[in-house]
């Protein structure tokens, strides 16, 4: 058997950048696409859309609650609005509006949060969103997506525009490792198996997908066979892939740049409990807020790098009978 190719970190554009580019593609293809922004267009990258389609770019000022409901009004009148801000503000400041104006009447609004997680870096905890996967999943009927790289972000932003109903997409600030070759197809709710294995499964989303790949290689060198799944859609969750991983590998690690409380791990654990219970470990932020620093320093300090995924995997394997 030929030696497996190792995963190498090659940085590509940030997922927010991919989102901004995808919006322009969408805007060209569909005149019903409109964008609302709350004074962060140069950071959320909706500025690309604004330059191409100034009439369809709606400046809402620093008023996220109002922006969310304006977006809902646009959707109710037949538009496909994307409202965007940092995740911390899009979700938290607009949460009630997401619940009452969007989720419960099932309005066709797309919400894209950028600068998610602690990898925003120097700005510190007030700008860091570490709870929005949990919050968004608690909006009944919402689709919740956290893509890992440029290619998957673009594809899933397009998929979100085609899907009729409310969607939240989580994107990040820093340049991120390339996972997928150009042209890879993605489907909402359908995870991607990046590596096959039968000893243990690592499930990850966002920035942690690359760390999971690195961890799998490290463990592979020791003869441990690791399955890696990019679970980009937190809701609706890919039950089938999770159940199969639980049955076939008997141990699961979930890794995410999010509070362990209420995040992807909890959702995966629910499916595992309902289908094929097995030992699980969770890599995430442990009931705390981060601080200022460079993204790499923060990911290291708060336990969100390959080293931590490896440690969690060893732990779960030790518990596996």
């Amino acid at each position: 058997m030929p030696a497996k190719t190792k995963f190498e970190i090659k940085l590509g554009p940030a997922t927010r950048e991919a989102f901004g580019r995808a919006l322009v593609e969408l805007g060209k293809a569909n005149p019903n696409i409109v964008v609302c922004d709350a004074d962060l267009s140069k950071s959320t990258m909706t500025t690309y859309f604004e330059k191409e389609f100034p009439d369809r770019f709606i400046s809402c000022g620093i008023a996220e609650a109002n922006m969310t409901a304006i977006g809902a009004g646009l959707a109710l009148a037949g538009k496909i609005p994307f409202v965007s801000s940092f995740s911390a503000f899009a979700i938290n400041k607009g949460f009630e509006q997401l619940r009452a104006c969007v989720a419960y009447p099932k309005v066709n609004l797309k919400v894209v949060g950028t600068h998610s997680g602690i990898s925003i870096g120097e700005d510190g905890p007030s700008q860091m969103s570490i709870e929005e996967i949990g919050l968004a999943c608690n909006l009944a009927g919402f689709v919740v997506i956290a893509p890992a790289d440029e290619v998957s972000t673009k594809a899933l932003v397009h998929a979100a525009a085609e899907y009729v109903g409310p969607v939240f997409i989580r994107t990040g600030r820093p340049k991120c490792p390339i996972i997928y070759p150009e042209g890879t197809k993605f489907e909402i709710g359908k995870s991607v198996q990046l590596a096959d294995g039968n000893d243990v499964t690592i499930i990850a989303n966002g920035l942690l997908v690359a760390q999971a790949m690195l961890a799998a290689d490290t463990l592979g060198d020791e003869g441990i066979s690791v399955r890696v799944i990019d679970l980009h859609t937190a809701k609706p969750i890919d039950r089938e892939a999770i159940a199969r991983a639980a049955k076939e590998t008997g141990a699961i690690v979930v890794a995410e740049e999010h509070l362990v409380d209420g995040g992807l791990g909890v959702r995966v654990a629910q499916v595992v409990a309902e289908t094929a219970p097995c030992p699980m470990e969770f890599v995430g932020i442990q009931d705390t807020y981060a601080e200022s620093g460079q993204p790499e320093e923060l990911l290291d300090k708060y336990g969100l790098i390959a080293r931590d995924v490896v440690a969690a995997t060893r732990k779960v394997l030790a518990r596996k009978r």
Binding site: A72, G73, A77, Q97, R99, P105
Partner: protein, 307 residues
């Protein structure tokens, strides 16, 4: 005489809008059936009285609900549905229809009665209000009545929705107008003022805000809970063309809506001075009837007064 002249102007304005929409891109215009016939003041008053009776009866049957703010809004809602808006009960999703958002969703009995009287929803089910399985939910819910423009009830959100709809109208070059009505207590919500800024900034002259200024909220008088006065000054300062009227005077309401329609380049806010519980003596200006249903005896007395 002056009033008659105003009415003929109003009819002319509506006809103009109707002919505009016939030329618009929408293929399935139903102007003939959907366009409200200009009604006489007496006819509108009669409808208003009937709707008041329906409000009392349905809330009485439900044994819970919000009569006070439903009754204070009757004349405005009646004028919108029976004399103003271009709507078509047979084609409720007609893209060029005018839109009404009851941001003060708890006053839905007035909206349900008006929609049922128009023929949007079954009139014989009004008394199922708030009961399991009823389309007449405790607050307006588009899942149960698709002809509603929005689900409302969480206060402070309707003006933002209206602005979104108005922006869509502008982008699509559609002639429809959007009316959002909220309570005077409701405007204590900060989002209303975010929307007020946005409405003026985006020059939303196809959006009309209506404040049902009845002076009472759940816990008591607005002036004692969190005073919103001077209200008209606030809207003017936010850049809205602001009109203060007696919200129970049908001629004043009609004139205000005409003025709103003639106002270009800025949105209009109508501060409608109303009486909470209007039309039922023991409910008028009585905070108790913000959110308390009348008992059987009170229903009887109220209906006698509304004969």
């Amino acid at each position: 005489m002056k009033y008659l002249k105003l009415r003929s102007l109003a009819v002319a304005a509506r006809n103009k809008r109707a002919s505009f929409s016939m030329k618009s891109i929408t293929p399935h215009i139903a102007v003939e059936s959907g366009f409200p016939m200009a009604k006489s003041i007496e006819e509108l008053q009669e409808i208003a009285k009937r709707i008041r009776r329906e409000i009392i009866t349905m809330i009485g049957e439900a044994k819970s609900g919000h009569p006070g703010g439903s009754l204070s809004a009757v004349e405005i809602v009646v004028d919108l549905f029976f004399n103003r808006m271009r709507i078509d009960p047979k084609n409720p999703k007609w893209p060029d229809r005018d839109r009404f958002i009851l941001s003060k969703g708890h006053a839905c009995p007035v909206l349900y009665a008006a929609m049922a009287e128009c023929g949007f929803t079954p009139i014989d089910q009004l008394n199922t209000l708030r009961k399991l399985g009823s389309i007449y939910q405790g607050h307006p819910d588009v899942r149960f009545i698709p002809a509603l423009e929005a689900s409302t009830g969480s206060l402070g959100e309707g003006l933002s929705l209206a602005i979104g709809m108005g922006l869509a109208a502008r982008l699509d070059k559609r002639p429809f107008r959007t009316y959002a009505m909220f309570g005077d207590g409701e405007i204590q919500e900060g989002q209303i003022w975010e929307a007020a800024m946005a409405g003026a900034f985006h020059k939303m002259d196809n959006v009309v805000a209506i404040v049902d200024y009845n002076g009472i909220q759940l816990d008591g008088f607005v002036k004692d809970i969190m005073d919103v006065a001077p209200l008209a000054d606030k809207w003017r300062a936010f850049g809205w063309h602001t009109i203060e009227i007696d919200g129970h005077s049908l001629p004043a309401i009609e004139q205000a809506f005409n003025e709103a329609e003639a106002t270009k380049g800025k949105p209009t806010c109508i501060v409608a001075h109303t009486v909470k519980g209007k039309g039922v003596s023991f409910m008028e200006n009585n905070p108790k009837f913000h959110g308390t249903a009348p008992n059987a005896d009170e229903v009887k007395r109220a209906l006698q007064e509304l004969q």
